[in-house]
Amino acid sequence: MTQVTVKHMWKEYGGHVVLENVNLHVGDHEFVTIVGASGCGKTTFLRMLLGIEAPSRGEFLIDGRPLPGEPGPDRGIVFQRYSLFPHLTVLQNLLLGLELKDAPLTGRLFGAARRRALDKARTLLAAIGLEAAANKHPAQLSGGMQQRLSIAQSVIREPKILLLDEPFGALDPGITADMHELIIKLWNAHKMTIFMVTHDLKESFALGTRLLVFDKVRIDPQAPEAFGATITYNIPLKGQRSAS
């Protein structure tokens, strides 16, 4: 059960208002897609959910409690790039989350615990179709393979919330269909709440159970930074939940 609530939230950088008066309630196991013009604050919104940015005013609640001020294993993230660990193989990249969980001191598992973790990682690896590349390093993978791994990596600790910031923006169009399938499969398997920013409206309709549109409602042509964006549309969709 994960509820995300935002109440009268504002975000400013110095005098520059990025987001103003954002209100939102998202229930359990939703797939929220977010669209909006470039620079309107979508990434900023995700960064606040992640805990690496604090709202200037207002409240940001998860299950009624204030958001922790730093990232944690309950909220996973997939960036457009760079979030794989180049020194670890594909399998090790997946394993890492499990090792960090159960080995606070050494960060490594041994014996039976390791075998259990390996089983879990291998299952997930099969789900994303990367078994053959298990022992390669990220730099040896194509962009699509890297992003598949990145998604798998961020769900292995079964976060309550998964954040995706234009995860397919850097991929060849042909590959995105596979990725959509994968993300829906994982979303259904792990029953988490997903927030995904995208530039592709079609994608947002196809995947989401709820579409958020960020836009400015007030514009001062003399001072474009005086007013921020807010959620102008909050549209429930049918999404792919039925597919589960």
Partner: protein, 271 residues
């Protein structure tokens, strides 16, 4: 005619071309040496190849009467031990402090300006204090190398640690990493190849400090020998020693490069 930039020598050609400047320098040496020896057969500045050969024979292949050692080898061993120890300690400090400064903002605020200042203090100017602090034994020589080399490595590693993509650091935290785990599993493993790069860059100054240290207090070592015979302008000994030092330094450089390529293939630019 293709552009200069598009013309490449073959393998054999490249080897020959690489040899060329060495041959030129050696030829120039032989020419000037011959000229000076014609003018003054006792000239010691640019000794003839035969004298150099004799000196090499004396130092590398004959037992020293006084000590029963083969001087070149005892000197080499002593110097390499000091150098190895100095570099190892510098690497350990560089890794530990550099990582800590790069990762922990509070430590960065506190230590970074100090390290920047210390790395610019000329160590040779504060020798007396250094020697009082650590004595004049082996420790002193190793310390001089460490004082000269470690701050540079610390700065380098701190900078490169801070350059790690924020995305990685955030990702690790969303996987539940504590600061300690983050260092252990994400930052440290990625620092090894960088440490090797930093060590390679420091090799030149490490040798410099070793030679300086040995010239001040020691009874053996490559730098000591050069210092000892320099008073007699015994270039027939100095030149092969310098060539030998250069060769050792080159070998260490290549070795480090090899280790990096083999052990940290994921960090090679070509992959």
């Amino acid at each position: 005619m293709r552009r200069l930039i598009n013309r490449r020598p073959g393998r054999g050609g490249a080897f020959g071309l690489g040899l060329l400047p060495f041959i030129l320098v050696i030829s120039a040496y032989l020419y000037y040496s011959h000229q000076r020896l014609e003018a003054n057969p006792g000239d010691k500045l640019l000794p003839a190849p035969a004298s150099i050969g004799a000196a090499i024979h004396r130092y590398a292949l004959e037992e020293d009467e006084r000590t029963g050692d083969y001087l070149l080898w005892t000197d080499t061993r002593a110097s390499l031990e000091r150098l190895g120890m100095g570099l190892a300690i510098s690497a350990a400090i560089g890794l530990g402090l550099g990582l800590a400064i790069g990762v922990v903002p509070y430590l960065r605020a506190s230590a970074a300006p100090f390290v920047a200042a210390v790395s610019l203090v000329p160590p040779l100017a504060v020798l007396p204090i250094l020697f009082i602090a650590v004595g004049l034994g082996e420790l002193a020589k190793v310390t001089l190398i460490v004082v000269g080399v470690a701050p540079v490595i610390v700065r380098d590693l701190a900078m490169r640690t801070a350059e790690l993509p924020t995305e990685q650091i955030i990702k690790a935290q969303t996987l539940g990493a504590s600061t300690w785990q983050l260092v252990l599993r994400v930052v440290l493993p990625q620092s090894w190849p960088r440490l090797i790069d930093a060590l390679r860059l420091s090799l030149g100054s490490a040798w410099l400090f070793l030679i300086a240290a040995e010239a001040i207090a020691s009874t053996e070592g490559l730098g000591f020998r050069i210092f000892l015979v320099r008073r007699y302008l015994a270039m027939d000994v100095i030149l092969p020693y310098v060539a030998w030092i250069t060769l050792l330094a080159l070998a260490m450089d290549r070795l480090l490069r090899l280790v990096r390529a083999k052990a940290f293939a994921w960090a090679e630019p070509g992959v």
